[in-house]
Symmetry: C2
């Protein structure tokens, strides 16, 4: 079931709102209209956007049902019809082999794609690696008018992509962001709640000395996590050691080995992504250290790896697909001329599994 | 390290050939030129394609080094410069949530993206779900001239996409195919070799009664696997039971549970993908059946899930990223007017891990 429930925050502001919730609290989507009328989502989209491709009779049936169910085509759909290319761009500047092992990007892209498919729009994708070529691609696609805007991931400090796109006048939405008011679209992360859940879970289990192996500190979202852990851990009498990792399997293994064989072994290790957490689990097995009896292992990104590991890894589910949907939605609204620049990302959830347990 | 080693077959035909191997047997790529000259791959591509964006001096340095290293810009690069959009299209009609858990698609897309990035081209992507809307998208992107061609996955019997694209006159490459001579591009799978490796491995371990839980039989590549297993198993005195699965975790679990609790328990179960294999492993743990002591579990698609499972799962590595690269390369050649319609996919490899062992 696809819903646009993640948009609730933006809509509560009264600034946007593609659809009101129906009687069951479910937001009406183009998919719902298509299903009830037994026509394709593309046909619904044509009808709502006043484009050719459907008969007048079908158009009328779509508009009637949209009105009946409280679907208001005067926001996202209108925004969309004002856009030029019906295409959004994503340019990812990370090592491609890493992208292919981490589930994060695929789930985000799938969320974005689900949304785009519902509104009959497309994704132009480029993986450039880490040599700074992403800026060239952003510049050229913008100048060639190939996309209506960009979704940006992995914001880092003084990120040159943002002034570039502002200068070019191309809309963009930065995902997993804090909320500077600098005139670009931002899907605002609200990690406080998740950090609190994570720390409450560890505090209840008696942990007082934990280690946090993050991703690279130059990513804004990692800075946010470090800052929030620091703030909220102190109040609970918990000490957190922060170690900068790089999201890779071997790196997660190395840091964990050092932590667990060094002096002052922490009672819990929180790893910055699923891959590093699985690596940490493997290291505990090698060292003959019981999980969670002697150490708890947690991940800051849920995935099938965490679910299927033995023991299952307690993880922060960042609702990645929902985030992707929300980012694409905000971008299309911006491309259509709407002025609301910020939307709150859906809050993360803590998936408690068997890799975390009480300090013995 | 990126290589175009997967193109060796096509080049051996004497029909294509973007680059000769250098002294170490490594094929020279645009990345190599960029690295040696310390300029971006985009600049190399501009220089090779005679496009604006580099100085005459840089252009000459690129052409000189290309000649020195035996990189021949008169095939892929020339093909490419004849293409119109520098964009290829992929429209995937599978359940998006399944795509987000299986590593197969992400690795294929990453392989395609690596190649496209080297030749400064882009990917237009749409995930439509399973309602037949993929045909609409293929038709519209073709008519709007948005892509130079399509890479098609999951070919099934009487697949309507192929006559549609032939009628529209848009090049396409079908991945994981057998080799009908029907005028469209095909990346030809050569699973005989892998099937032989798989069966030799099982025969050596003493297995005589194995079960194969496939993906849906309507996929051509699954038909090929069933047919080849049947042919090659008989000669080794092995009986194979074929059961149609659907690539989902729960489905893999259900079939395995039935096989292992029913009469005539097989001594080995080969699952059609990584997710079903991990599910099978979980079922053996639930049932208290030792792997590989009492049953061997194998997967027909390698991934981090197989590598990181406990025990590690013996799997067929289909060299998915290399396949993606090869498919994109063939498509760009076709789009550029070359006539070679078939290219052999890199052969699969058997990754032997601890989930397979001798029959006791």
């Amino acid at each position: 079931m696809t819903t646009t429930g993640s948009l609730a925050n933006g809509e509560a502001d009264g600034t946007a709102g593609s659809a009101a919730p129906d009687k069951r609290g479910h937001r009406v989507t183009i998919s719902d209209l298509a299903r009830q009328l037994q026509i394709s989502k593309a046909s619904v989209s044509y009808a709502l956007n006043g484009r050719a491709g459907v008969s007048d009779e079908t158009r009328q049936r779509v508009l009637d049902l949209a009105e009946e169910l409280g679907f208001h085509p005067n926001s996202a759909a209108v925004a969309l019809s004002a856009s030029r290319t019906r295409t959004i761009g994503i340019v990812i500047a990370r090592d491609p082999t890493l992208i292919s092992t981490e589930a994060f990007y695929m789930r985000t892209l799938v969320g974005i794609e689900q949304y785009l498919n519902e509104v009959d729009s497309s994704l132009l994708l480029r993986l450039t690696g880490e040599n700074g070529e992403d800026l060239d691609v952003l510049r050229r696609w913008s100048r060639q008018g190939r996309v209506d805007g960009f979704v940006l991931f992995d914001e880092h400090q003084n990120d040159p992509r943002i002034p570039l796109l502002k200068e070019l006048g191309v809309p963009c939405v930065v995902v997993s962001s804090n909320a500077p008011d600098d005139g670009v679209g931002r899907l605002i992360s609200q990690p406080e709640e998740t950090v609190t859940l994570l720390l409450d879970h560890l505090a209840e289990l008696g942990h007082r000395d934990i280690a946090h192996v993050s991703g690279p500190f130059h990513f804004i979202h990692e800075q946010l996590r470090v800052q929030l852990l620091r703030e909220h851990a102190a109040a609970r009498g918990i000490t957190v050691r922060h170690i900068e990792g790089n999201y890779r399997y071997d790196d997660g293994a190395d840091h964990t080995r050092r932590l667990l064989t060094g002096p002052d072994r922490p009672t819990a290790v929180v790893l910055g992504n699923d891959l590093m957490a699985v690596a940490a689990l493997r290291v505990t097995a090698e060292l003959g250290i019981d999980v969670p009896g002697e150490v708890s292992i947690l991940a800051w990104d849920d995935s099938p790896l965490c679910e299927l590991a033995g023991p299952g890894i307690t993880a922060v589910d960042q609702q990645t697909m929902e985030r992707g949907r929300a980012a694409a939605d905000l971008l299309l609204r911006l491309a259509g001329g709407q002025q609301q620049l910020h939307l709150e990302a859906p809050p993360g959830l803590l998936r408690i599994r068997t890799s975390s347990g009480p300090v013995i």
